[in-house]
């Protein structure tokens, strides 16, 4: 250590070893970013001219009018809550067997690929696309929204529950197997207690998401508060729309807050 000629330098190894490749990737990323910002073609004169109109539009929201459309708002909120509760419960109910079938440490390979397939299909479509499809399929109204949200819940809930099941401790489940427990008992004693807190947390989280999505789904014809909001916009009743938005925001906050408390209690 005293001999300086022996001192060795050290540098962190770069993620991409080849220097040419590395710098051309950096250059490419910067060039692409530059080009994509240029495709916006912002006409600043039009923006300037549009500002007063935007101001008028925003002014239309104030003050929010809760009164003239109050009945529709209440109906819409109740319908959304109904959709949320029903779709969360049904979605979770279907998710549990799918998750068990998709967990590598539990399921037989044939079941495994089938259940993974269900999850993949459910996850590959956004709620809006599903809603458009189901509205065409079942007609306008909350039933289409309910089916949409239930279907979307499966992809979310089953996927995350599967991961949790795969992370369970082998020794705990082995110990239950060693007692001579049958398959159902093994799931009930060896697996379920390990994943229960996460299941409750995920369920509440999904309830949260489903309420927010129910507002979106309504816009494309799936019923609920989203439909009310859409109608308000179509009639240029921006003050009522503002009231609806405030109601949605308040409920989302409330749901998020309470589910946060419950999740903390459980975990």
């Amino acid at each position: 250590m005293t001999n300086l000629s022996l001192a060795r330098t050290w540098k962190r190894q770069p993620f991409i070893e080849n220097q040419t490749v590395r710098y051309s990737i950096y250059a490419g990323v910067i060039l692409y970013l530059f080009l994509s910002f240029n495709t916006f073609e912002i006409n600043w004169i039009r923006v300037w001219e549009g500002l007063p109109r935007g101001q008028k539009f925003l002014a239309g929201f104030a003050p929010p009018d809760f009164i003239s459309r109050w009945e529709e708002i209440v109906d819409g909120v109740l319908e959304s809550l109904w959709m949320t509760v029903a779709s969360t419960v049904v979605g979770i109910f279907i998710s549990i067997p799918v998750a068990l079938g998709a967990a590598r440490n539990i399921a037989h390979p044939s079941v495994y690929y089938f259940c993974r397939g269900i999850i993949a299909i459910s996850r590959s479509f956004h709620e809006i696309l599903l809603a458009i499809f189901f509205v065409k399929f079942f007609g306008f109204g909350p039933f289409a929204g309910f089916v949409t949200l239930s279907f979307a819940t499966i992809g979310f809930f089953a996927k995350l529950l599967t991961e949790d099941i795969e992370d369970t401790s082998v020794s705990q489940s082995e110990a239950i197997q060693a007692t001579g427990a049958n398959w159902w008992q093994w799931i009930n004693y060896g697996i379920q207690p390990q994943v229960m807190p996460r299941m409750i947390g995920l369920g509440l989280y999904r309830f949260d998401i489903n309420f927010r999505e129910s507002a979106i789904v309504g816009v494309v014809g799936g019923g609920g508060i989203g439909a009310t909001l859409n109608t308000a916009f179509d009639r240029y009743e921006f003050d009522s729309a503002a009231a609806i938005l405030i109601v949605i925001i308040t409920i989302v906050f409330l749901v998020e807050y309470t589910s946060g408390i419950v999740r903390k209690q459980v975990q």
Binding site: T179, W184, Q185, P193, Q194, P197
Partner: protein
């Protein structure tokens, strides 16, 4: 009572854990299975209740071939074999009572177990066992609230409530302090003796094995290299099981006692010597 014939296990990875093991354990015998890590001790006892399916040979339990049982019969067979685990393997989010009663799962139907409505006789037996291991005041505690020694005692109760004829014990003391280790080993051996159970205990701790077992079997690379009394475990035998090692002399010991800093010097010397 338990007889292994040419038991062979090759894992899917290609690793061979057991290369034709023959072993017979009579009723009431406490047998220690010792050997280095990776010798196949865990695999051996897991083959017996088929948590790990053997790839060759046969296992006879009360003259019935375990390796050919249908899955339904296997569940019945597993009731006869209590298992005690390294790191206890209690279901952590279940209560002490639920963990003990889970030993009865092979005897009760799904709905009874699901609703936690076990027969009164099972509950009586659970209380009796919990009293015996000194934990009857902790019935409703969650398993993860217990200390290591307490958890292992619950693990023992779970195995015994199965009313087994054989105990398979996998490193019961691996995460316990020396005093608790002795207490746990004593408890296992006492209970095995009371009920006249055969007992196969995997154990790393050779002195503990000598202290409690009636018979010691040494396993190396999936092969039995010693089978005899605890007294017969001399240095040559230990070398045969574990490989070349000086079993008594520690040349650093006196120096370390004289001055503490000597540790650092020795540490830096070691790698240098190995590199040259």
């Amino acid at each position: 009572m338990l007889r292994l014939e040419a038991l062979h296990k090759r894992y899917a990875t290609g690793e061979v854990a057991l290369t034709g093991v023959d072993l017979e354990v009579p009723k009431g015998q406490v047998m220690a299975l010792i050997g280095p890590s990776g010798a196949g001790k865990s695999t051996l006892i897991r083959c017996v209740n088929r948590l790990v399916p053997p790839t060759g040979g046969r296992i006879f339990f009360n003259n019935e071939d375990v390796t050919r049982l249908s899955s339904r019969k296997l569940l019945k067979m597993r009731r006869q074999m209590g298992m005690i685990f390294q790191e206890f393997a209690l279901v952590e989010r279940l209560s002490v009572m639920e963990n003990v009663l889970s030993g009865r799962l092979g005897y009760v139907g799904f709905w009874r177990s699901f609703l936690r409505k076990f027969p009164q006789s099972d509950i009586d037996e659970a209380f009796r066992l919990l009293k015996r291991i000194g934990l009857d005041h902790m019935v409703d505690k969650r398993a993860d609230e217990l200390s290591g020694g307490q958890r292992q005692r619950v693990g023992i109760a779970r195995a015994l409530i199965q009313d087994p004829q054989l105990l398979l014990v996998d490193e019961p003391t691996a995460s316990l302090d020396p005093k608790t280790s002795r207490q746990i080993m004593r408890l296992i051996c006492e209970l095995a003796h009371e009920r006249n159970l055969a007992c196969v205990i995997n154990i790393h701790d050779v002195p503990l094995a000598k202290m409690f077992a009636q018979r010691v079997v040494g396993l190396r690379l999936g092969e039995i290299v010693y089978d005899g009394t605890p007294e017969g475990l001399n240095d040559d035998v230990l070398t045969e099981i574990y490989g070349e090692e000086d079993w008594h002399i520690n040349k650093y010991a006196p120096k370390a006692a004289q001055q503490e800093s000597s540790w650092d010097e020795e540490d830096t010397e070691e790698p240098a010597a190995m590199a040259s």
